[in-house]
Amino acid sequence: MKLPIVEVGRPRPYPPRVSAFTKRFWDSLADGRLTTTLCRECGKLTFPPKPFCPHCWSAEVIWAELVGRGRLYSQTVVHAAPGLFAAEAPYRLGIVDLEEGLRIAVRMIGGETPPNSTGRWNWWPCVTPTGRSMPRDRSAADAI
């Protein structure tokens, strides 16, 4: 399932570190697909993607696509930001529990109104002018 891609209109202060292993993740994301690794031995997903399974230590991992929906667990707005992100402050961060049972930390964009923390959310990757894509959840106004 392809997710819509949102342009955020600014460069990323902290670009992704693309390695031989993670290149596939970033390429998929740029194509609107949120992916991670799945263990063939114990069947568990992990995020961020890893070349081994942190649950059973198997190296038999394959790529799997995530549906891009989750539930907001918590959120905050950062006012005093580290130097690298200072120009973007204040900005909102969240913790999202994906439908697949993974918890991830995200930057939230677009929403001015604090969303209901128990609401269900869709995921949209965002693309910066540098062409790199990053996983971000959609705005509060778009929450379903």
Partner: protein, 241 residues
């Protein structure tokens, strides 16, 4: 984000959380070693600029510098000095195997590592939490003091902020927490802080804490951590005077 979730789950208010900082500032006013000693009212605390919502400037740790030292010896040697000393009665350590945010969803407001490490320390010391006279906890934000206090049994689950607001954790209250003023007001010199907390506990248990002395203090618990309390080290100490 622990604070947001805690407020969502328990109905605790920002004012109740901020009372932890007001209380710690009150303690620090009595501590000549503290970095911030000027008392602040709740209104003044809430009027500070935001750092990370819902925590304002004095609800998170300052930048600090400092040094601390303690001397460890066999009890026979300590006793031979003929001065008050402190015994390590119990110790517990637990690491939950995650750093900051676990990828498998859990209850982030339950500091499981602290709970397990404390249970181990209390068992080794042969005590229960009601035997303790006070606690000095590693808490770089108000919410962390609330959550670690609940995890190690100082306050009831979901009621730590309320307890702070009601004065239960203030000097003179049911279970004083951070008589030193804590990381927020005594100061938080990175990596030195856990030892700094030990110094406070030792001074209290030897009856040398001056104006902030917990009367008759004999047993105390002291904590430190890694990540967001993903790992915890807990000691129970006893004063011998």
């Amino acid at each position: 984000m622990d604070a947001t979730r805690y407020m969502h789950d328990t109905g605790a208010t920002r004012g109740e959380l901020a009372m932890v900082a007001v209380k710690n500032r009150r303690h620090a006013a009595l501590n000549p070693l503290a970095q911030f000693r000027e008392p602040l009212t709740l209104a003044e605390m809430l009027a500070q600029r935001m750092v990370v919502e819902p925590l304002g400037l004095y609800e998170v740790s300052p930048r600090s510098d400092g040094a601390a030292a303690i001397l460890l010896a066999r009890e026979k040697i300590a006793r031979a000095l003929g001065r008050p000393y402190v015994l390590v009665r119990g110790r517990g350590f637990y690491h939950e195997g995650a750093r900051q945010i676990a990828e498998v969803p859990n209850d982030m407001t339950a500091y499981q590592a602290a709970e397990r490490a404390a249970a181990c320390a209390y068992a080794e010391a042969g005590i229960t939490v009601s035997d303790l006279d006070f606690a000095e906890v590693y808490a770089p934000c108000t919410i962390v003091e609330v959550l670690v206090g609940e995890a190690i049994g100082l306050t009831k689950r979901g009621q730590g902020a309320q307890a702070a607001a009601a004065g239960e954790t203030t000097l003179g209250g049911r279970m004083p927490i951070c008589p030193s003023g804590g990381l927020l007001s005594r100061g938080h010199p990175p990596y030195v802080t856990p030892l700094y907390s030990m110094v406070e506990v030792v001074q209290q248990l030897r009856g040398q804490a001056g104006e902030r002395q917990v009367p008759g203090a004999r047993l105390a618990v002291v904590t430190c951590e890694l990540g967001n309390y993903n790992a915890a080290l807990v000691h129970v100490l006893e004063g011998v005077v």
